[in-house]
């Protein structure tokens, strides 16, 4: 793992949906090595703990990364108040990203709500060979669907209340998709219940699956052991650490 800490400029700020923000940050040395699925540990003035936010997109040419986050509490609220040209202190890139296969393989990327952002960089790798199944509560929470569209991915948009795209959960959409055609790999990030359903389907169709998990963090780099999550390795249960062993895990290893 190679990471850096520094103060980096927010070069673009956008409000994607109610309480959801999109920052593009100039940080060439991070962009240089960042991979899909890794995260940034963001310091927010006035708070003792940093906030982990997934890297949504990496632009190596322009030396920028993009993070998309939702206001969930006091910290993310203060982060949302940061404006273009302010410097933010981040440690990145952290954790293990998704395993990317040859881009000619068929991939399904699935995101639920604020689990959608890390899927953009994955879809960018597979482009037209990617199916993006993204789910939200309602039309007003939909984010990033156009990003997947412009990458050439086949987008299946779902909302719980049917106000946009198809009505229902991403797991239903995935089941339909898998009845039609198999895939080489599935990537997913979102609530535990959603991940559970996806893992069941991946097992049923015997498709490799990687999921990204969340846990509260201290150091973000693997030193403090606070971000424990239960996993199985060699048939034995053990506490892995989301920040260093994850956030991406093989679905066969996780216990949800």
């Amino acid at each position: 793992m190679k990471y850096t800490q520094g103060n980096y400029r927010i070069v673009k700020k956008e409000n994607l949906a109610k309480n959801c923000y999109d920052f593009t940050i100039a940080c060439p040395e991070i962009a240089e090595i960042a991979q899909a699925g890794q995260f940034a540990h963001v310091k927010i003035n006035g708070f003792s703990l940093r906030r982990p936010i997934s890297i949504c997109e990496v632009d190596k040419e322009n030396g920028t990364i993009r993070i998309v986050f939702e206001i969930r509490g006091e910290g993310t609220k203060a982060l949302a108040d940061c404006n273009e040209n302010t410097l933010i202190d981040i440690i990145a890139p952290l954790g293990n990203g998704f395993t990317l296969l040859d881009s000619s393989k068929k991939a399904i990327v699935i995101g639920g709500g604020i689990g959608v952002p890390p899927m953009v960089e994955v879809a960018k790798h597979y482009r037209k060979n990617a199916t993006a199944i993204i789910g939200f509560r309602s039309a007003n929470a939909v984010i990033l669907n156009e990003d997947f569209d412009s990458l050439g991915a086949n987008v299946m948009l779902c909302t719980d209340d049917g106000t946009m795209g198809q009505k229902g959960y991403v797991t239903t959409a995935l089941a339909t998709r898998l009845e039609q055609e198999t895939a080489d790999i599935i990537y997913a990030c979102g609530p535990h219940l959603m991940l559970k359903g996806i893992i069941e389907l991946a097992n049923k169709y015997n498709i490799r699956c990687e999921v990204s998990l969340e846990e509260r963090m201290g150091c973000g780099v693997g030193a403090c052991l606070v971000c424990a999550c239960k996993t199985v390795k060699d048939g034995k249960e053990y506490f892995a650490h989301v920040c260093k062993d994850g956030p991406v895990f093989d679905s066969k290893e996780v216990i949800l």
Binding site: S48, G75, V221, A223, F239
Partner: protein
């Protein structure tokens, strides 16, 4: 540049700044940012005889100016520590302080015994972890048991022995005197203060363990007070910690009587904290025309 080196319980540290046990793992992760050789020493993650899984997550909660943790001594066990971590740290030109704990006196004794003959420079016996059911703080809140366990470990090791004290006691000076009588070469304090945080919407504690150890700037004044009291009641050296996040805090801690200073929670917010503190100490000494850092230890002038 001033002389930052201190002699602590017979061990020479090139500077008094040491990342605290539990916040720095075994050093590997932070070596991505700076060479470990710049540190006075490293107090390694609390290690027990057998490997431990620790407590279920969430294991951390944010509090005003601090944090609560309930890791519960997750560690790979002493044999793995000696096989994989010590040889690595031994190449880093810094002092290795092995922080150890156990559920029983026998466990602590056996753990210390296995360290004998390794490259470890000093043992820090943790009798103050608030996050484990057995052992841990149980030894550290009673003078008799604190003295007994210190004596037992003292008997099996020739390494300098530092005992880490709990602030969750009525009289920390009594405990400090007891471990001094038990043969400790030094004391370190403070471990975390027992605390709790409740989510008012779910009405559940944030920590799965319900309670956890408070550290960070919130505990700093408590730590300074305790270091000062202990430094004035024992004749063995004191290693101070608890909420140190800037060089000014480190100076304060040393004026109160600490000859080594450990940095814990500050690392999460500022991974470069130890480097910044070492630079700041140098500057402070130069600005005040003090040539030797030992000249500030315990030099507070109380009213």
């Amino acid at each position: 540049m001033a002389n930052l080196s201190v002699n602590f319980a017979g061990v020479t540290f090139k500077n008094p700044i040491v990342p605290a046990s539990g916040a720095f793992g075994f050093g590997r992760e932070y070596e991505e940012l700076y060479p470990l050789s710049t540190l006075g020493g490293i107090s390694t993650k609390g290690t027990t005889l057998e490997p431990r899984n620790g407590n279920p997550a969430p294991r951390i909660a944010e509090t005003p100016s601090g944090m609560l943790n309930s890791v519960g001594l997750q560690n790979p066990g002493i044999d793995s520590f000696l096989e994989h971590e010590v040889p690595y740290l031994a190449t880093k030109d810094t002092r290795i302080i092995a922080n150890i704990a156990g559920s029983t006196i026998e466990d602590c004794v056996e753990t210390a015994r296995r360290i004998e003959g390794s490259a470890v420079d000093m043992i820090e016996l943790n009798i103050s972890c608030p996050n484990v059911k057995e052992g841990g703080v149980a030894f550290g809140v009673n003078c008799n048991s604190a003295q007994t366990i210190t004596e037992a470990v003292r008997n099996v090791t020739t390494k300098p022995l530092m005992v880490k004290l709990s602030p969750n006691v009525t009289s920390i000076t009594d405990i400090a005197k007891a471990v001094e009588a038990g043969g400790a070469d030094a004391v370190s304090l403070i471990n975390t203060l027992l605390g709790m945080k409740i989510d008012i919407n779910t009405r559940r504690p944030i920590l799965r363990n319900n309670v956890g150890g408070l550290s960070g700037p919130a505990v700093f004044p408590v730590a300074v007070r305790m270091v000062w009291q202990v430094a004035n009641s024992v004749s063995i050296p004191v290693c101070g910690m608890g909420g140190v996040s800037t060089w000014k805090d480190a100076v304060e801690m040393m004026l109160a009587g600490a000859s080594l200073v450990q940095i814990g929670a500050a690392l999460f917010d500022t991974p470069f904290a130890p480097m910044k503190i070492i630079d700041g100490l140098n500057q402070y000494l130069d600005d005040n025309k003090i040539e030797n850092i030992n000249d500030i230890i315990g030099k507070v002038q109380p009213w």
